[in-house]
């Protein structure tokens, strides 16, 4: 029987990895794509010593409007944040819309207004775009795909291959807010919660941090940054450990989760470590730099809740969770889809 695409192929877990390894890389493969970074970064002929960063994401979140954001805000923040965690200042965004016939123009306009506000906040413009319309029942209201180009200054070097045993692992704030906020409005699943999506542009915070750490002795302290979106904190950690070829040990009690998020996740049978975030980042840095990184982040609205949640250890590229009961649990990619269409 022919193999078919399943929802879990889009979940960011094992099946997404299979799709990339079995279908995309064998045909499209090249060294940049194969790195599977949030943004591809490469020198531009005649562009000096910096590197161009290039990234894209499709947004199909359901429902498209949720507490704390909407698909328009998400489409800008998602792409801007992929540039930010690559160390790139955003240069320009593109936006492509796929609209379902019958969508209210007011709804489209509301999403566009949100995009514009998020772009202003991030200090970037949408400079090019496209719109397609498909028949009723051939899309779900609206899908937005953004791409972004950014510029990584000369000498900035972030990446999972820079992660070393002994490094500290930080997260910038409580995890799981975006996932719970979207689910609370999902048709057939609505529940009452005060949780709002954390969706926001992080480039300002990240670039100020990187600039400051790169002045003088802090250069090289920050090894790796990533935004734990689809697949959540756990998926980023699993990919980072595998990419670094070292273990990551996380102290479960240190991972910040709002009580409302924990409660809602428990009711839904979901693990907050796998819930999506859209305004958080994971940071790995040299142990001796932790205090300086935290001091920088304390002045940042999007970083002041940052905490150390674990450390990198010699090992075979696995992630262990030290539970509050003294146990040790192996974290892995989800075999399937925890929450479809979360971004």
């Amino acid at each position: 029987m022919a193999k078919l695409v399943r929802l879990a192929h889009g979940g960011g877990g094992q099946l997404t990895g299979d799709l990339i390894r079995d279908v995309f890389l064998p045909h499209l493969g090249n060294p940049l794509l194969a790195r599977l970074d949030d943004a591809a970064c490469f020198p531009l002929e005649g562009g000096g010593d910096g590197r161009l960063a290039f990234t894209t994401d499709a947004f199909v979140v359901s429902p498209p409007f949720f507490p704390g954001g909407d698909i328009g805000k998400l489409a800008v923040c998602g792409t801007v944040n992929d540039l930010g965690v690559s160390g790139a200042a955003p240069v320009a965004l593109s936006a492509s819309f796929i609209l379902e016939e019958g969508l209210a123009l007011d709804e489209l306009e509301a999403a566009v207004v949100s995009m514009a506000a998020a772009a202003r906040e991030a200090g970037v413009s949408v400079v090019t775009g496209d719109t397609k319309v498909v028949e009723r029942g051939k899309a779900d209201r609206l899908f937005i795909t953004t791409a972004g180009v950014g510029w990584v200054p000369a000498g900035r070097d972030l990446g999972v291959r820079r992660v070393r045993p002994g490094d500290a692992v930080l997260v910038s704030g409580p995890v799981g807010d975006h996932g719970i906020a979207v689910l609370s409005r999902r048709p057939g699943m609505e529940f009452v919660t005060t949780v709002k999506s954390d969706c926001r542009p992080l480039n300002g915070c990240l670039l100020r941090l990187l600039d400051r750490m790169e002045e003088g002795s802090g250069r090289g302290v920050i090894r790796f940054l990533r935004d734990p979106t689809r697949g959540g904190l756990a998926t980023v950690l699993v990919e980072a450990a595998a990419g670094a070829g070292a273990d990551i040990v996380i102290d479960e009690a240190a991972v910040p989760v709002r009580s409302e998020v924990r409660g809602a996740a428990e009711l839904l049978g979901l693990d907050p470590l796998y819930l999506a975030n859209e305004g958080k980042f994971v940071l790995v840095c040299a142990r001796e730099g932790v205090e300086e990184v935290l001091a920088c982040l304390r002045n940042e609205p999007d970083g002041r809740e940052a905490v150390v949640i674990g450390a990198v250890r010699e090992g075979r590229g696995r992630v262990y969770l030290q539970t509050t009961f003294g146990g040790k649990k192996l974290l892995d990619l989800l075999p399937g889809e925890e929450v479809p269409r979360i971004c």
Copy 2:
């Protein structure tokens, strides 16, 4: 009653223009976006005297596989050609997939294989991507959104504002092939034809032409290039005349249309001038440069059928078709959608 999105909003005609003017530009507007060029071109800080070109398109063609191409080939060629007509050499592509649950993985792989072949032909790589999956019935098999970055060398200046009365208008070959090829396989509409889509990357041909014309005295001769995709030749001409603030007079008998395309279009009640092309370009050049342009194109597989179809005249920005019967007909944007989901 709330205004709703109609299929014609995606047709590239009047309603698409309304959407851009009423919904997108008021909120996202900036000088680059407002130019509505195929690619936004802008200097890059520290990038020397050239300009970065950035473009995106969503592809929702139905059916996704058709004679002469498929959605994967189209997604690469459409974006590469938008760079090419902007005078940009392609630097890198991104690809975002929205897949419908239940799509055969073989079908996805076939589209990816086509993308890879087209990218190789165009001499560019897909360096970053994304995949999302939506539930069965929430998309139509697969949608692909590509974005592209390119590099416009210093001193190259193309644009509708450079078009002058007296200039010649050329098209690179017969029009309407792509439109008829896709329609011939559209569910509920299938008909037998030998017509194949002209879908192909044009960047090689365009860049060799521009490079050669820019050597010495030919610099500045080529004013404007555009690929007549959705909305066809007529839509490009109407937009060019309006943008230039000058009339364009087209000799109907000079516009190349294959007899099979003409026949099929007549049966379907469609005008070949509005049918999509995916491997053709419209070129406006100084009258004194026509012979040199044609001589350059004669050596190019994608340009050797180029012909002069008309000229630019003083006027108020309208397009007139001189018919074979001696009449004169005003060409305008289509009020609605000639053919939905053609790309």
